[in-house]
Amino acid sequence: MKIRNYWNLRDFGASTWENASRPVRVAIALISIVLVGLLPFMGGSILATPIASFDAVLVYPVGMFVLMSLGLNIVVGKSGMLDLGYVAFFAIGAYTMAILGTTTGLNTWEIMPIGIAFAMTAGVLLGIPTLRLRGDYLAIVTLGFGEIVRLVVLNSSWSKGPNGIANIPMPPNLGPLKFELENQKVFFWVVMAMIMLTIWMIRRLTVRRPGRAWEAIRQDEDAAELMGVPTLKYKIWSFTLGAAVGGAAGVLYASKNLYIAPEMFTLNVSILILACVVFGGIGNIWGVVVGATILGYLPDRIRFISDARLLVFGLVLVIVMNFRPDGLLPRKKREKAIVKKGANA
């Protein structure tokens, strides 16, 4: 006899959402957004992080991790390609911000589309030759790409090599909303907006043709190709969209940190983001959000135990993955169409 029922938050959430009428959905969404938006004011509560300020932790690592995990999840979760070099796109975004921000008069918002474009271009250029590879081969090539990008910025003069780039400008204020180092609420709201935009994008795509193509590729790529799915094209799209999100995160990161250096863009970042995806529930947006939030927040919350915190972090990973191998909120396996409900004919 089961002592406790398998806690199935995912299906509970999904069915609540499906059964809700439109106004109820809008209300749920708005209330959630407001609640999350108010999070930075919770710095004095039990949630507080002992050393770093709470709102700064919410921006980085938490918000950034969520954003990057969502981007990586498009590649790894949706279309099933193992990318171990995701940090490269983050780095490209960050360096675009750093270089253009310090040498031209452009501000963060003007550099944002440029950084995204560079990251996407890199995604396409890397994707065309490599996405014919599968599984482990792809993982190794992408891993190599991540390292190459880091080594290039480490050894180039335009990137100031190991010294990194300092004095990167902060974003200009958005009306009454001021970007400040001591008070990062506005940064948090910007990250939140970017996260929402990413979620919107993924949800839009997954209920329509691209989502089906990715799903088919993930499950049986040869069958997909033989049923008329241009698999390379959709794989490149997946890779490129993931790159776009990574690049956007990089631009904001540089503009928040004001200083970047090659050692911030190591393989560890790629692995950590991948861990967030797998921990939360590969392929499930909400799982990824929860996973990245926990893995981003936990090390700062338990900073008071100093070195032991990494041990605890590792233990949490091992224990959770042991009991929930598909992650905290696994990909849906319910019998429901990957087609828009309203498309009912």
């Binding site: 994008m201 839009r204 795509l205 329509r208 043709r209 691209p210 989502g211 089906r212 193509a213 799903e215 088919a216 499950q219 049986d220 040869d222 069958a223 997909a224 190709e225 033989l226 049923m227 008329g228 799915v229 241009p230 698999t231 799209w237 396996k333 019998e335 429901k336 169409a337 990957i338 087609v339 828009k340 498309a343 009912n344 004919a345």
Partner: protein, 261 residues
């Protein structure tokens, strides 16, 4: 019986070698519009290889494959599908974690124009195509007689339904030519009769069928013509009653101790 028309698919002297193994040896084959052509032969004769060469899984060592006036040699696999050739797999290869309906809808996407941008911004054409796809896929499931399973995950379907879903998915691509690789494998006699009726229905709906099958009685009942392969070589190509009594065919089958039914 449907009217038999012009040549739709033509294999001209096709040879396929895998290292030292010659899976196909100078095979000539014509499939005419509107017919059911059966491709038979003992295990390992090269039947599936014919499908793999047509659909671009393998590139033939030599020879020409021409479909409806286009040489398939230089086409990518998904382009071949787009030109109007669809197949099923001898070992079922559905997308198990998709529902039956999604499997077919995914196949219907091949002739649609909208892509990523349309999906992202919900452009009118993308929305319209979603509705069309869904309706079409449902219609196909109904046509094949498995619409009651539309919302079930493919991997959870009964074996026979999965086999039928493979056919439905192939029809989803709106092909001119359907390649069926042992669609009745593992079926009992009653199921085979039912499937034979379905295949006939598919042909009568205007599709041309190239069918690999081991069961002679099934083949004799529905095919217009039978081509026999043995060790990669075509040894017979005629109407069923003639092929059935061809001594070379009988020998090829009797030469194989394992049951060929």
């Amino acid at each position: 019986m449907a009217k038999i028309g012009k040549t739709l698919l033509k294999l001209d002297n096709v040879t396929m070698k895998f290292g030292g193994v010659t899976a196909l040896n100078g095979v000539n084959l014509e499939v005419k519009e509107g017919e059911i052509l059966a491709l038979i032969g003992p295990n390992g004769a090269g039947k599936t290889t014919v499908f793999n060469v047509i659909t671009g899984v393998y590139k033939q060592t030599s020879g020409i494959v021409d479909f409806d006036g286009t040489s398939l040699g230089s086409q990518k696999r998904y382009q071949v599908t787009g030109l109007g050739v669809a197949r099923t797999f001898q070992n079922i290869r559905l997308w198990g974690d998709m529902t039956a309906l999604e499997n077919v809808i995914t196949a219907t996407d091949v002739h649609k124009k909208s892509g990523l941008v349309g999906a992202l911004f919900g452009l009118p054409r993308a929305r319209r195509e979603e509705v069309e796809n869904r309706a079409r896929a449902m219609e196909i499931l109904r046509f094949i007689g498995i619409d009651e399973y539309s919302d079930r995950l493919a991997k959870n379907l009964p074996y026979g339904v999965q086999r039928r879903l493979e056919i439905a998915r192939a029809l989803g691509t709106s092909p001119k030519l359907v390649l069926l690789d042992e669609p009745a494998a593992g079926f009992n006699p009653a199921e085979k009769v039912e499937l034979a009726a379905t295949i006939k229905k598919v042909r009568d709906a205007g599709y041309t069928v190239l069918l690999i099958e081991h069961d002679m009685s099934l083949i004799m009942g529905i095919s217009d013509r039978v081509v026999v392969l043995d060790f990669g070589t075509k040894i017979a190509d005629d109407i069923p009653s003639v092929v059935q009594n061809d001594p070379r065919v009988i020998e090829a089958y009797l030469g194989v101790p394992a049951d060929a039914s």
